[in-house]
Symmetry: C2
Subunit: 743 residues, 2 copies
C-alpha cells in the first residue's frame, strides 16, 4: 500500500482532535462536571494512544517509502521549543507587559548572539566571498518608489469583515479553519474530508472571486459572533505613514530591502567601473502589516531580510565561479516532480541540472548551491531542505525561473529563501517611473557597421513652408524610431506623409521636403537594461527552522532540553565551570575564561553553587557545544576536563591546550573534530569532572583534598591576560529565571 | 583684547555673504549683464580676501587664547567632505532617482563597512566588556507604550504654516534664518546684530508663546510666498501608522530604542538572577519625522542608535570598575563653566569630578570615561570633544544629572552621545501604565523588625452588622496604607470613623468593630523601583563628525582628499597594487591579497592600468591606512614596498612578513607603530615602488627587466591559500565613477 502525505495529515488532525477531547474531559472531571466519569477519560486516552501509535507507524512507513521525514508530533515539538526559547530569552513576545502585539517579537541575549553570528557568516559567505557592493537604505520609503515596484497596487491579502462588528479576518484563514474542522470531525464522510483536504492544498491559488465562492459554499460566518461576513477584498500589507507634516508626502515602511538596491543601481554600476555582472546586497528590516498573524515566528510583521541583486547581461548568465559548485548535489523539487505522480524531489548536481535545462542558468544554480552550503553550515538539517521550483502559474509573467529553498519544520515545508531570475522587470519599472536611464552599455569587441534609416530634410523648403514649426518638425524626425522612419518612407512614396508635433498637432509633409534613406552607421556597442537574479533570505524563518532542527531532549526527558547548534551558530562556544564555588577554583576558571576570550572563543563562566549536572543542563539549553570544568586535579596539575555537548563524552587536557583545541574545533573549515580530540587526549573517567560530590560531606572531603595545593594554584591562576573581557553572558547567573521550572 | 566666539560668528557670516556676492557678480559678468564690469568683480574679490584673512587671524588669536579650535572655513569643509562622501559612495541621498527625500540617506559600500566596524567595536567595548544583556525589539510600537513614556504627548517641535498655502515650516528655523540675515546685512547696526546673535543663542529655550512673540517681533512671513504665518503649534515628531487593518491598533515607529529595554526589564532582571546592578543594550533603527530636516547628515529622519540602560539600586550608584577609569581626564563643560565668565571647559579626572560632586555618581562618570575612550579609538579628535552638563532648566524634573558628549564640527558643537541619570522615571511610568510590577527586591543583610499599624477587626460584630459588605470592609482595612490606618485610628478614637468600599459607598465604623494597633513585623528586605543611567549613542552623528575630523587635503590641493581613519574604523585596511598591469605582477598581488584576508586584514586589489600616483590618490580617498606595491624587485626577491597613508613614507619588506606587520599595526591595543616598522625595515628609495615609469617607453624598459625572472616568479605566485576571498572591494575598479572629476 502506498502511503501519501495526505493520509498523515488526516490521521494527524484526528489525533490532535482526540488530544483536545482528552484535555477537555480531564478538566471537566476535575471541575466535577456532572455525567463525566473517570472511565470516560480512560476510554478517551486509550483512543488517543491508539491514534498516536498509528500515526507513528504511518510516518515510519512513509519514511521507509522515501517520503518526507515528517515531524512526529508537531504540537509537542512546538510546545517544548517555544517553552525553551521563552524561558531562556532567545525570543519573547514584544511589549508583553502591555499584552503584546501579534506578529512582533523581541530577541533576548542568546537570540541576539545567534542572529549576529548568522548575519556575520552571511556577510562572509556572500558579500565578502563574492565581492558584493553592500548598501544600507532607510525603511521609510516614499510612495512613488513602491508604486513603481508594484507594491502599492498589488501587495495585498484578501480580507473579509464581520458585517456587524466590522472585525477584520484573513479570508483564506477562515476557509482553512473551516476545512480543518471538517477534516477533524468524525461525523463527516471520508469523501467530504478528502474534498476539504484537496481544497486546502490549493487555497493559496484562489483569486478574489473564487475565494468568495468557497466562503459561501462552506457557509462561513464570522468566528465567535457568527455574523455574516463581507465578500473578500484586497488589503494592502504595507504599513502606511506620512513623511513630514500634514499630508506633505505619503510613505510606507518597505516590504522588502530589494527596492533600495534598484534605486541605487546607476551609482553602483558606475562605482563598479561600468562593468557587468556585479552583485549588490542589503541586510535590513522589512515590514508587512499582516491582517492577523498566526504561525508564531514564521509570519511576523517586522523581520530581517538579507537580499542580493545580481545584475547580469541578459544574454550571458554564466557565472565565473560556477565550476566551484558544479558537483554540489541539491534536493530539487522541480515542476516535473510536483506535477507528476511521485511528488518527490530528485537529487541532482548543479552541473546536471543546468545541462538538462531543469535550472534556467548558471547564476541561478550558483546561488542555489551557495544557499544550500550556507544553510548546512549554520546547522539546518539538509535532509529536511529542498529547492522547490515555482510552477508556471505561480511565477510573474516577467520571471524566467524561481526556486524557493524550503525547510521542513513543524509548520510544514516553509519557504525561507527565494531565488528568482526576475529578468529586467524591476530596473525597467524604476527607469520609467523615475525617468532615469538605468541601462548598461555593452561595448562590442570591435565596432560593427549597421544599416539604418535616416531622415534627410530639406531645411530651406521646410523652414519656408512651416516657419517656426519647421525646426520642431525636423527635431521630431531626428529622434524617430526605425519603425517610424520606415512608415514615413512609404508614406512619402505614396504622397500622404505627415508627422505629429510634440503638442499634438499633425503636420502634412510634402515629398520634396524630406528624403528617408538607408545609411551605414558604425556602432561601438549597445545599451540594454540588465537582468537581475535575486536571492532573498528571511533571516528569522531560517533561524526558527534551525532552532527546531537543533532541538532534542536528553534521554527522552522533556525537562532536559538540548540544542545541537554548530559552533558557528552557538551563542556561546564554551562554558567554564569551577566544580566547587571556592576562590581557588573560581580564580582558575576566570583566568581560563579570559584566555579563551583573547583567543576569540566566546565563553561564559558559571560560578553558582549548583550541581555540575544542573550546570550542564543549563549550558545544554543554550546549545553551548563545549564545557570545561576546573576540578580538584586542576589545582594539582593544571589539567581540566573538556566535555562535548552531544556525546557528553569527556577528556582530560592540559589547560594550556584548551584554547588551541577549541579554536580548531570551532574553526569554519577545520578538519579537526571531537573524534580527533578523543583520540589525542585521555578520556575522563566517571567520578571525575562530570560527577560532583553527591553529599555535602563528600564535598567537604573533596574540597579538603583540593585545598591542599590551592595556595600554589592560586598564585598561578590570576588572569594571565588583562583588558579583554569574557563573553556577554559572563557572570550571569541562571538562577531565578522567571520561567524556571521547579527543581 | 579678548576675542569671543561671537566675534568669529559675525565675521564668518560677513565673509560668507561676500563670497555669495563674488559668485553672483562673476555669473552676471559671464552672462553679459549690463553695468557689471571686470573691475566690480576684482574689487569684490579683494574685499573677500581681506575678510578671509581677518577671519583666519581672528581664529588663530582665539586658539591662542585657548578657546575653541574652530573650523576655519565651515562651508568649504562641508563642500569638500560632501563631495568626497558622495563621489566614493560613502553616503548618498536616498531615492535620488526619484528626487530624494530630505533627511533620508543611503550608505554605499565604504559607508556600510565603516558603520559595521563602529558597531562591532561598540559591541566589544560596551556589551561584551560590561557583560550587558543585549536585546532587539521591533521599531513598530503600539501607542500605549509611547503614551507611557511621554512621547505621544510631549515629543514635539513647534511648527508654523503659511496661512494661504498651508505649507509647514519649523518655527525656530524661520526665526533663525531671519536673525542670520540681520547678522549678515551690512546695513544693519552693530547693536541690532548683537541683539540677533543673543536671541539666536537662546532660541532652543523659547517656549510656544515666546517663539510666537519673536516671530511677530521680527515680522516674519512665509519664505518665498511672503504670506502671513500661523502662530506656532506643537507637531509630534513620531511617524504614525496602523498595526493591522482598519484602525485596529494605532502605532508609531519608535523615536528611540530605549523603550524596548524598559518593557523587557522584568524578564531581564530575572534572567540576571534577580540581581542589580546590570546593564542591557540595544542597537537599532529609530525614526523622527522632522518637519524640515536641514544640517545634512546630522538631522535625519531615520538613524541608528546604540543605547544602554544601566539599572541600579538608587541608594548605591557606585561602579565596580570605576577604578579602571578613575584617572581618565575629560574635558568637562559643567554648569559652573557655562554660567560663569570663562565659558571654557575644564580638564578633570573622573575621580576628582566625582569627589568634588561635579559629576553626580561613579556610574555616570564611568560611562562618560568609557564614551571618551570609545570616541578616541574610532578616530574622533578628542581636542574637539567636550562633555557638556545640562543646565538645571534643561533637565527633566526627575533627572539627577545629564552630560552630553559634544563633538565640534563645521555645524558647531554637536550632541553625539547623551549620558543621563534618569532616576526611576521610566520604569515607574511603565509599571503604572502596564499595571505590571517592575520593582526589584533588596534583601537586608539580616531581617529587621519594624513597627507597623495593623487593623484587627472583630469579625463577628462586623459580619453581623454589615452582612455581605463586612468581608469587603475587612479586605479594605487589610490593604490600607500606614497613613490610612493612622487616620482610621484617630477617627475611631474620636468616634467618627468610616471607610470607603471599592464601589464608592462609604460605610460608618463603630469603635467596637475594629482596633488599630501597633505591631512588630520582621522584614527580610524591601521592594524598590531601580534607577537607570542611560548612555545613548547617535551612530550617524558620531560617524559624520569622525569623517570631518579625519578629512584633510594633501599639499593643500582640494583634489587630493585624504581620510586619516584609524585602522579600526577604516573600511579597508590595506590596498595591494601591482606596479604594472601584467600577469606576473597581478598573480603575486592576488596571492598576497588572499593571504591578508586569511590573516583577517581586509584588503582590496587595484589592477587597473592607471599610474601608481593615481592609485594612491584613490586609496587615500577611502582612508585606507596602508598600501603594498608589487614591483619588479618583488618578482626577483619576493620583497614588496609598504606605504603608510599619512606620512607617505615607504619601506621595503619581505612579502612573508606583510601579514604579521599589518596585524600588529591594526591590532586594537598594539604598541607596534609605523615608527617601529620604519626602524625595522629599510626605507624604500625614491624611484622605487612609489614612482611608476613616467612614459610608455620607460614602462617598456622596466617591464622587460621585470619580465626576465617572471617565469620563475609566476610559478611561485599562484594563490597560496584557497577558499578565502579577498575583501568586498576586490576587483572593483574606481574608474568611471559617476562623480569622478575630469583628470
Amino acid at each position: 500500500m502506498s502511503i501519501t502525505a495526505d493520509d498523515v495529515v488526516l490521521l494527524e488532525a484526528a489525533t490532535n482532535a482526540q488530544g483536545d477531547l482528552v484535555r477537555a474531559l480531564k478538566a471537566d472531571l476535575k471541575a466535577g462536571k456532572p455525567g463525566i466519569t473517570k472511565e470516560d477519560v480512560t476510554a478517551a486516552v486509550e483512543v488517543l494512544k491508539e491514534r498516536k501509535a498509528s500515526l507513528a507507524a504511518l510516518l515510519k512507513d512513509l519514511q521507509a517509502q522515501g517520503g518526507a521525514t515528517g515531524v512526529v508530533n508537531k504540537e509537542e515539538t512546538r510546545r517544548i521549543l517555544n517553552d525553551a526559547l521563552e524561558r531562556r530569552l532567545f525570543v519573547v513576545p514584544s511589549f508583553r507587559i502591555y499584552g503584546g502585539v501579534s506578529g512582533l517579537f523581541d530577541l533576548g541575549p542568546p537570540g541576539c548572539a545567534i542572529k549576529a553570528n548568522l548575519l556575520a557568516f552571511w556577510r562572509q559567505h556572500f558579500v565578502v566571498n563574492e565581492s558584493m557592493l553592500e548598501v544600507e537604505c532607510p525603511a521609510v520609503t516614499p510612495e512613488p518608489v513602491l508604486k513603481a515596484s508594484g507594491h502599492v497596487d498589488r501587495f495585498t491579502d484578501l480580507m473579509v469583515t464581520d458585517t456587524v462588528t466590522n472585525e477584520p479576518f484573513r479570508a483564506d484563514h477562515l476557509l482553512e479553519d473551516a476545512l480543518e474542522k471538517i477534516m477533524e470531525d468524525p461525523k463527516e464522510s471520508a469523501e467530504r474530508k478528502k474534498e476539504a483536504l484537496n481544497l486546502k492544498t490549493i487555497i493559496d491559488e484562489l483569486d478574489e472571486k473564487q475565494l468568495g465562492e468557497q466562503l459561501k459554499n462552506y457557509n462561513i460566518t464570522a468566528p465567535e459572533t457568527g455574523n455574516p461576513i463581507s465578500d473578500p477584498y484586497p488589503f494592502n500589507l504595507m504599513f502606511a505613514t506620512q513623511i513630514g507634516p500634514s499630508g506633505y508626502m505619503k510613505g510606507f515602511l518597505r516590504p522588502e530591502t530589494a527596492q533600495g538596491i534598484f534605486t541605487n543601481f546607476r551609482d553602483l554600476y558606475y562605482f563598479n567601473g561600468g562593468k557587468l555582472p556585479f552583485a549588490a546586497a542589503q541586510i535590513g528590516e522589512s515590514y508587512r502589516n499582516e491582517i492577523s498573524p498566526k504561525a508564531g515566528l514564521l509570519r511576523v510583521r517586522q523581520f530581517t531580510q538579507a537580499e542580493i541583486e545580481h545584475f547580469v547581461n541578459p544574454s550571458d548568465k554564466a557565472h565565473h565561479k560556477f565550476k566551484e559548485v558544479a558537483n554540489v548535489e541539491l534536493s530539487l523539487y522541480g515542476r516535473e516532480q510536483q506535477m507528476g505522480e511521485s511528488k518527490k524531489p530528485v537529487k541532482k548536481t548543479m552541473k546536471a541540472a543546468v545541462d538538462e535545462g531543469m535550472i534556467n542558468n548558471e547564476t541561478l544554480a550558483y546561488y542555489m548551491a551557495r544557499t544550500h552550503l550556507f544553510l548546512e553550515a549554520i546547522g539546518v538539517d539538509i535532509r529536511r531542505l529542498r529547492f522547490r521550483q515555482h510552477l508556471t502559474h505561480e511565477m510573474a509573467h516577467y520571471a524566467c525561473d524561481c526556486w524557493d529553498a524550503e525547510i521542513e519544520c513543524s509548520y510544514g515545508w516553509t519557504e525561507c529563501v527565494g531565488i528568482a531570475d526576475r529578468s529586467a522587470f524591476d530596473l525597467k519599472a524604476h527607469a520609467v517611473a523615475s525617468k532615469t536611464d538605468l541601462d548598461a552599455f555593452e561595448a562590442y569587441a570591435k565596432p560593427v557597421v549597421v544599416e539604418k534609416l535616416e531622415a534627410a530634410p530639406n531645411k530651406q523648403l521646410i523652414g519656408k513652408a512651416l516657419k517656426g514649426d519647421g525646426k520642431i518638425a525636423m527635431e521630431v524626425m531626428a529622434t524617430m524610431s526605425q519603425e517610424g522612419l520606415a512608415k514615413l518612407q512609404s508614406d512619402l512614396a505614396s504622397g500622404g506623409a505627415s508627422i505629429t508635433l510634440p503638442d499634438g498637432r499633425v503636420v502634412a509633409l510634402e515629398s520634396a521636403w524630406v528624403v528617408v534613406k538607408t545609411v551605414q552607421k558604425k556602432e561601438t556597442g549597445r545599451n540594454f537594461t540588465p537582468g537581475v537574479i535575486e536571492p532573498s533570505f528571511g533571516i528569522g524563518r531560517i533561524m526558527y527552522c534551525m532552532w527546531e532542527h537543533c532541538l532534542y531532549t536528553r534521554d527522552g526527558d522533556d525537562q532536559k532540553i538540548v540544542f545541537r547548534f554548530t559552533p558557528l551558530s552557538a551563542p556561546i562556544k564554551c562554558t567554564v565551570f569551577p566544580l566547587l564555588n571556592k576562590d581557588a577554583y573560581n580564580d582558575f576558571a576566570t583566568a581560563l575564561g579570559t584566555e579563551l576570550s583573547v583567543g576569540g572563543i566566546s565563553n561564559t563562566l558559571d560560578t553558582t553553587g549548583v550541581s555540575i549536572g544542573k550546570k550542564y543542563a543549563r549550558t545544554d539549553e543554550l546549545g553551548v557545544p563545549f564545557a570545561v570544568t576546573v576540578d580538584g586535579q586542576t589545582l594539582e596539575d593544571k589539567s581540566v576536563t573538556m566535555r562535548e555537548r552531544d556525546s557528553t563524552k569527556q577528556i582530560r587536557v592540559p589547560s594550556k591546550d584548551v584554547v588551541g583545541i577549541l579554536q580548531k574545533l570551532c574553526a569554519l573549515r577545520s578538519t579537526f573534530t571531537w573524534k580527533d580530540a578523543l583520540a589525542k587526549y585521555p578520556a575522563q573517567e566517571a567520578g571525575g569532572g562530570d560527577k560532583e560530590p553527591s553529599s555535602s560531606s563528600d564535598a567537604e572531603k573533596k574540597d579538603k583534598r583540593a585545598n591542599k595545593p590551592a595556595k600554589n594554584a592560586n598564585a598561578d591562576s590570576k588572569p594571565k591576560v588583562e583588558g579583554i573581557p569574557a563573553d556577554r553572558f559572563n557572570h550571569v547567573s541562571w538562577e531565578g529565571s522567571l520561567f524556571a521550572k521547579p527543581a
